[in-house]
Subunit: 133 residues, 4 copies
């Protein structure tokens, strides 16, 4: 399925649920499964910064907790309130690597609706996975 | 609301959704909001162990991503496939501290249905919070 | 060994090495091994907040990387630039639980030199450990 | 400075200090500063897997805790006990992005001494940094 306005509308709704009192930097994620279910994800901050959790991971663990398994995902779209295009942090890329197909699209958007498409594999080249253990 | 058999039945269902191919240690969480909504959480492991995410946090970030806010939670129940009673790890206690009332009950169960009740504050004494920043 | 002025002097030196451009909240740790070696630890922040690392863990992993093993530690002292006494976050308590004796003292200080002593076990009651796996 | 046998010898020494009782997967890191100081890093595991810390981060936070600052590093070499070449996990790439020059070499080796060179920027394309906040 191609990226559409619907992706952007939904990810902006997800972003509004962010709990970001420390950075003020609200992030949203919109995850679609191959069987058409959708999940919103928002960042969940913590006074102890290392315990913050990002929007991408929030959406992915919500889906796994509903019974979805690695490989069940079609795309993820992310957004921020900034002119910079959203970009997953390293930990989120590692979780995407574990749970999503290497070729799954990651749509990175910004506050004005611009979009750059990448893939899980492009975002974590030579990515560490279960094959390396 | 008191702890009941329903809590245990639900947390065991949540646990079945765990993705734990590395440890084989499946954990489930069952989160109830004050307005009666419930969330399942399961642990989501990763070949890169530091990128694993626990059941308790999975349930909590799913709830925040649906619009719930700190203080909206009534209780969390957790379980493991072991005779030991489930116990939240340090990072989960930090996230509970941020998002839940200090007196919120944490029900820790095991594979045979035993239960020990504690609270967020008891599990993280002198807990670090936004007041310390 | 009892807590002395030397502990406080050293932990304040450690704190000055903090890299905390995002929170401005500088934390220091001073770790002593049973054979008398000492390690400074400072918090190391990251633009992606979940990738921040705390002072306590910085000191502990530095010691392990020099060959020290779980149980080799005598005490840890921590400090902050605040009137609140420093308190380890949940993730740091989990790492202390793994690497230190349950009765090891944790000395929590503040900017004016007040101190509260606790232990690893008191800070993580019913702590999750390898025995629970 | 070019990659030499010395890098490999040192990173193999670092690896021997790994504390990896849960995965059995020992990782080593060898960090060199621009002014010629060197740091060993080893992975430090935890019964609660999300609280594990990798070799690369162990070396980097040790250096910051000794007073080094972002940009002070010349190269990092990593190794594993596997025929696969070591590859930094996502969280380590995020910490490298924060603390090291984009063009800093990352030397990835394996148990037989093979090596692949990359850079911080190549390992985290479109990397999230303080400029995006």
């Amino acid at each position: 399925m191609e990226y559409t306005n619907k992706h952007y509308e939904e990810v902006r709704k997800a972003q509004q649920k962010a709990y970001a009192p420390y950075s003020g930097f609200k992030v949203g994620a919109y995850l679609i499964t191959k069987d058409g279910r959708t999940f919103h994800g928002a960042n969940v901050e913590n006074a102890a910064y290392p315990s913050c959790i990002c929007a991408e991971r929030s959406a992915l663990v919500a889906a796994i907790s509903e019974g979805y398994r690695p490989g069940d995902f079609e795309s993820i779209t992310i957004t921020v309130d900034s002119p910079s295009l959203a970009s997953p942090c390293g930990p989120c890329r590692q979780v995407l690597k574990e749970l999503c197909d290497d070729e799954m699209p990651v749509y990175m958007t910004n506050q004005t609706g611009e979009m750059r498409a990448s893939t899980v594999d492009q975002l974590l080249p030579y990515g560490f996975s279960g094959k390396d253990l």
